[in-house]
Symmetry: D2
Subunit: 352 residues, 4 copies
């Protein structure tokens, strides 16, 4: 059994890791870290875990945890993982960081979008961006995984094959994304109260959302650009908040290069994803809905080519807490420990 | 592997059986019955099943199905199972009926509340009321299981130990229940449209809901009454529709008999349910919420005794599609086939 | 024009007073009091008021306000109004208090349920309980109005005629109520976050909710009891939180006295409410739904008598922010200033 | 008093006209037309109207209605208005058609997108597109108003000033829109059931939605193109369904022409809309949310210019049943009858 520790186990993403590991045949949680609820029974914080988890929450002592755990998930605010990680810890254990600390290879870009100085730049190069379907080979031997964000997983994977095969005009990419509310976390803020969110839809972080550079970086790699030396795709990314608990839908627009046909688009998707368990290609003209992936680790992708504007419209839908966070983190764990990639993750989407 | 057929697999309860059996290690679905969608790919009706179920929907030919399946789940409107069942079928296979056809032992009561003549009265006595925690011994050898309703499972189990031990005044029982919308089924009715249900709560079937006699009958047995000869507890049962997909909360009121103490109430609950995997006793003063059981087969129970009115207020919460329908049906299947009762049902509640 | 000041104008109830007074032909808001947002433009706090309200929020200086306003609405936490009110203020202005400070005539009961010492007991007797349909004569000349709570308005008015006419067994009353989330206020608490409330229903304050004694007191008056000397109806009151913004449904149960008929019940309702503009009697067998009163000052009442148990089941539905708070407050203002009672309150319910 | 008849008064848009006219000081409803509910009391279909509307529903006899009404609102499926309108009717009365029948000046475009032959092409030229803020002068003397669609009102008005002033590249326009469910109407369809829509977001009509040509036509006029002779802006328009009752948010993307500055964008908006009562410019960097306009006739607009991509992102939010349907229809009526444009429409948005 893989011994897993979770820093930030009482946030929504952390709690989802708990849910997934409880149903995982090869892993167990040995440390329920929580700054806010230390010493309280975990099941008092999440009553769904009543009689399923008997443990109490523990502090965030990562040095101690590193001795007890084979893998540590850090589901914490920006900066925490970077402030705690060190070589000693990485000698003992693997870290899968669900924050953005190690997602971006250029510290200047990180600092510009996150408005903070990076506290552990020495680990940035080593960290592997844990987008499993793209980077699984490098993930295998990593010590430190930067688990991708929710919007970014949906957006990058939806656009990746087209960018990789050079089918779209890189200056034309727009991602208009819609998210459920759990993505905003469990902090007590007026703006996330039921009555503030319910019966409304709103854009936020327009032209300034932190997932923008993460998407741009990965698409730059897909395009073969020299990102670390300043080359980069530039996109518009606009997230919207939708009154639902879970789910992300990324609606992606891109101008096809002249002469590119609908069948080339289809081929690009099939080539990349045909054999991926967690990516379900709905085919041209069929579009995903977040309800069909709820609770599961699937990413559903559908698309069409508009003959009038010669533009591609492609949509990706996933559960932000699963494939967009905890599920992908467990998928990374499976790769790290040589398990079959979907071990413990063959969750059937819950509907309705 | 247990071969299971489902009649009515494209209703919400039927689809939930599919979800559960896909994750069940000892059973597989061999027949996706659906009158409305016959010949269509099942995954076209429920897109969450895309790439998980390749089968097409089949007709509702129960004779043919009986030859292929070890167990048939009928998740169909009232009357259908009664109109199809016969001895030949029951020789080949077990039936777990999710409709109300065989739940009520007195045909006159059935006909009075359901406004229809019973089409197979000869099987009523044989049928076992599949409330697993109460009737598991008789379930073991049954051929025909009457799977309890959603409101009734929550309400009966919440009141059972108190009635059984004679702690409450039987003429004082009131059940005020709240249900999510999936209980209303997938039929296209104006009253169940999103805009009609959202942002509202309403009572329905006041003093006339069909789950009333089902609750009364089982509580009568608990009280040791001679129900079949006309003795019966009489209760008020008022269901309400709440804008959420899943979940039932039964708030139960009963006057305690003179001299009955809070600790006697607690003892009654503990004696009955302490060792039940699927019943979680939250303890006095702790009340259940439907969110903590969503997607799981748990029934959470909490209660308090009001010293001012000497009345018990007890609440039970479950997921109407799981413990209130498909989950309990699979639990019955597990009992019927000698499996551990929670096989394939150790589902961790999904939150949020 | 009546000059109105609002203390607590940035809570949900306070904001609803603003909405109503903006559409009121005889009143205007002259003071937007807010402790949390003092000096900020009101429309920055409630963007629906953009270009409709140009004022900035002011402090809660009630002495100053009393000089400028003809009426002060206090939509504030428990205790604030009692801590500020004095004779000088009441000489200048009328106060309509939306908190519970002056609702309960017995300070010992207040202190028992609210766990706080009353700070202005000298005004308790003078204060008039502003349940308009019952107390409008005493309201006319009052200086200090205790505006009823949301659950209480729905529950008392639904039961009042029956208690008043002696049709029900007073020891048998149970009120099972369901509320939208705006009743919980705009404070930033984890328990009121979207993801915590959505897709769930839960009971709270079981046997201990503060609206219990308020209902009991008014029903005691209806029954002709000597409440202030210790006589009182005792009831069970159980509120539930429902995932919707607005709306309260009170489902009331009471045993009818022997010999009482359904037509006596109907007559009692008609006698009391036939001519009330804001109370809509749906008639026997028709039940209210909160969606039909949203945004309006209506209370819809429906009921039935169960011949099997000889129990009455009656339901009242209102919008907790309107008839359950701000609307009734404005109705009280209309009475205080000699206006037609529905002035500015002829709001058509918004659906869907 | 203006006598108004409504064909299709029991759909959501028709019912909203009823709500608005009940609160309108200069108009009254004289005909509640409804094919589905003819002869039934209107308040039985919409219980919010109990005791407010005593009328029964009438047939859809437009000839008879034309004799009794000064204005007829047709809130009906595509084709109905075109099949009924004739010169005799237009001599007696004005028609405000909420369907798409007369919105598009090119019958070939209409037939291509609506897949039906136009039944009254002779009235297409005469009909005035009732986008009040743009066309109020021509509306004044019209007999037949084509009331704009919900998505189109939001999208056209958000982009209009920029297109009109030539600030954006016309080939670059993308509109990604989000709608509440009431836009789908009150028909009993599985896809609009509560459980199908709740907790999900989905795109629909991708590259094929019928509001596309309507937006394109009006933007073509704004750009000074010769639309009727085949010139046209081409856009991508992608609507999404969001689990909420009301509200539309249009997120619009367009590349600014070289050299165009953020202040030119601001100026264009101010010039066009500064004095418009119903258009609220939130200013650069402030974005609208549908909750702030619910129940009102406002359109809120916010925008920003992304310096990285030199692209404009502009959002418009409205209530699809008010400014997107019934409210704009009443606004058109006010113009037609020489009333102040916001008569009866000074509705304060309802929040929460």
């Amino acid at each position: 059994m893989i011994k897993a520790g979770i820093i930030g186990s009482t946030g929504y993403a952390g709690a989802e890791i708990v849910r997934l590991l409880l149903q995982h045949p090869e892993a167990e949680v040995v440390w329920y870290g929580s700054r806010s609820y230390a010493d309280q029974p975990y099941a008092d914080v999440y009553r769904n875990m009543f009689e399923l988890v008997d443990d109490r929450c523990l502090s965030e002592d990562m040095d101690e945890l590193a001795k007890r755990a084979d893998v540590i998930f850090t589901a914490t605010p920006q900066g925490l993982c970077a402030s705690l990680v060190n070589d000693e810890i990485l000698k003992h254990t693997k870290i899968i960081d669900l924050s953005a600390d190690f997602r971006i290879k250029r510290p200047d870009v990180y600092e510009q979008w996150y408005k903070r100085t990076h506290e552990a730049p020495q680990f940035i190069q080593e960290a592997v961006y844990g987008l499993c379907e793209i980077n699984r080979d490098s993930i295998k031997n990593a010590r430190l995984i930067a688990n991708p964000g929710c919007f970014t997983t949906a957006s990058i994977l939806t656009l990746y094959p087209l960018v990789e095969e050079g089918l779209v005009d890189l200056s034309s990419i727009i991602v208009d994304a819609k998210s459920g509310v759990s993505g905003a976390g469990r902090g007590a803020k007026v703006q996330n109260l039921y009555c503030e969110v319910n019966e409304s839809v709103k854009p936020y972080g327009v032209t300034s959302h932190r997932h923008t550079p993460e998407i741009e970086e990965q698409l730059s790699y897909a395009a073969g650009m020299d990102y670390e030396n300043g080359q980069s795709v530039l996109i518009n990314f606009t997230p919207h908040l939708v009154p639902m608990n879970r789910g992300i839908l990324s609606t992606c627009y891109a101008a096809l290069k002249e002469g590119v046909s609908a069948s080339q688009v289809e081929d690009a998707y099939r080539r990349r994803y045909q054999d991926e368990y967690f990516i379900r290609l709905l085919g041209e003209g069929n579009f995903p809905e977040t309800r069909w992936v709820e609770g599961s680790n699937f990413l559903d992708i559908g698309w069409t080519v508009d003959p009038r504007t010669h533009r591609l419209v492609a949509c990706g839908a996933l559960d932000n807490l699963v494939k967009g966070a905890a599920g992908q983190a467990v998928q990374n764990m499976n790769i790290l420990f040589g398990l079959k990639e979907n071990t413990g993750l063959e969750l059937v989407p819950l509907f309705p």
